[in-house]
């Protein structure tokens, strides 16, 4: 299973990628923002997207909407990991059709739990 980790913070990309490796997922791609993520999705098959919300050029919400607008990617699992924990943020993300939502700072167990939940229902 190939993961795409999208975050403008190199620290966060490393933390998420390391956590994924610990869980057992070793095929990982990284992107710095939504635009880079779209470029990656255009050139290689990706099975799971983990994205931040606040990013320059194209944020995570716009990326999610862009992914869902493509017929071949509308079922691609998307997990949002963000510092935005307000109720209206969660609602906006769910309306954009993310599959699940993690509020930073998160524990490794939460990441595993959300991925498992998404994959079970996918």
């Amino acid at each position: 299973m190939k993961f795409l980790v999208v975050d403008d913070s190199p620290t966060m990309r490393r933390i998420i990628s390391n956590s994924l490796r610990d869980i057992g997922y070793t095929e990982l791609q990284e992107a710095e923002d939504g635009l880079q993520a779209i470029e990656t999705l255009n050139v290689m098959p990706i099975d799971f997207v983990i994205t931040d919300w606040n990013m320059p050029n194209m944020n995570g919400l716009a990326l999610t909407k862009a992914i869902r607008s493509k017929s071949d990617l509308e079922d691609l699992p998307i997990l949002m990991i963000t510092t935005r924990g307000m109720q209206e943020d969660v609602i906006a993300a769910m309306h954009a059709k993310v599959n699940n939502y993690i509020v930073k700072p998160f524990a490794p167990g939460v990441l595993r739990e959300k991925i498992d939940t998404i994959l079970k229902t996918a």
Partner: protein, 280 residues
């Protein structure tokens, strides 16, 4: 000259006298206004100079904040590099311990095997067999001690790896503080722009470019000004409850409905939290 004309002149003179009387009464007030203006002028100049100084300091403050953000990013990368090194080394050490455990068990098995061969070869030499059996038992005891020691070391390595993971996860603080710093930088840059515009209006000799910073302020920077490095369990539980309700289609998306979900999550966290008094 008619009497009417004289009356007119007298009337005009009265008006003139009234003007003089008014002037006489207004004179102290006008003097006060002059005094006030002569005091305000240097004050305005002082404000102008102070604004100019502040406008010049803002880019410096912004630049310092950006360098703090860069420094924490570099430090976080260095810490993550060290954590990766420790993880690799601990994995190698675990591998060596596994091999050592395997070798030790082989030695134990060899002793048992040797005893079996001797029992078959020299069944009548009970004295020798008893000696070898004693040695094999002693060896087994040492092997058991060694096994315990290896398992204890593996436990320690596991704990070190867990602590390394916790340190790595704690570095999420860098992302949160970077967003807070970006938010303050953005605010300062807006202030600098407005002050430069105001100074340009107050002092035609200066231009906004005089206060242009010597660093790049990203125009498309995206950050959450409310980013906080704090326990997110409560927010996560509220988000989970909201998502579950939305996925089931049972959510009430009115403000009251969503507030209820978040308040319930907060209450659940409060109930789960251990009572401080119980620990004492």
């Amino acid at each position: 000259m008619s009497s009417l004309n004289v009356n007119d002149i007298l009337g005009k003179l009265n008006e003139l006298r009234a003007v003089f009387v008014l002037g006489q009464r207004a004179l102290p007030f006008i003097e006060e206004v002059f005094a006030f203006l002569s005091e305000v002028a240097p004050l305005m100049e002082e404000i102008n100079a102070s604004m100019m100084d502040s406008a010049l300091l803002v880019p410096h403050a912004t630049s310092q904040l950006q360098s703090i953000s860069e420094a924490t990013k570099t430090a976080s990368a260095e810490i993550l590099d060290l954590i990766d090194d420790v993880m690799v080394q601990s994995a190698q050490y675990e591998g060596e311990l596994d091999r050592a455990l395997h070798d030790v068990k082989r030695i134990e098995a060899l002793g048992v095997d040797t005893l079996r061969i001797l029992r078959e070869a020299i069944p009548d030499r009970s004295d020798v067999l008893a000696l070898v059996e004693q040695n094999v038992e002693n060896g087994a005891l040492h092997v058991h001690n060694l096994e315990s020691s290896i398992h204890a070391r593996r436990t320690v390595i596991g704990e070190i790896r867990e602590q390394m993971n916790q340190i790595a996860m704690s570095l999420q603080v860098q992302d949160c503080t970077a967003q807070q710093i970006a938010s303050v930088t953005h605010l300062l840059d807006n202030m600098r722009t407005r002050m430069a515009e105001l100074l340009e209006r107050l002092d035609k000799q200066s231009t906004p470019t005089d206060y242009t910073p010597d660093y790049d302020v990203p125009e498309n920077a995206s950050f959450n000004p409310d980013a906080r490095y704090e326990n997110a369990d409560e927010k996560q539980q509220a988000a989970d409850a909201l998502i579950a309700a939305m996925q089931k289609g049972t959510h009430d998306e009115t403000d009251a409905g969503v507030d209820r979900i978040f308040k319930n999550a907060a209450l659940a966290m409060e109930l789960r939290r251990p009572n401080d008094g119980d620990d004492e």
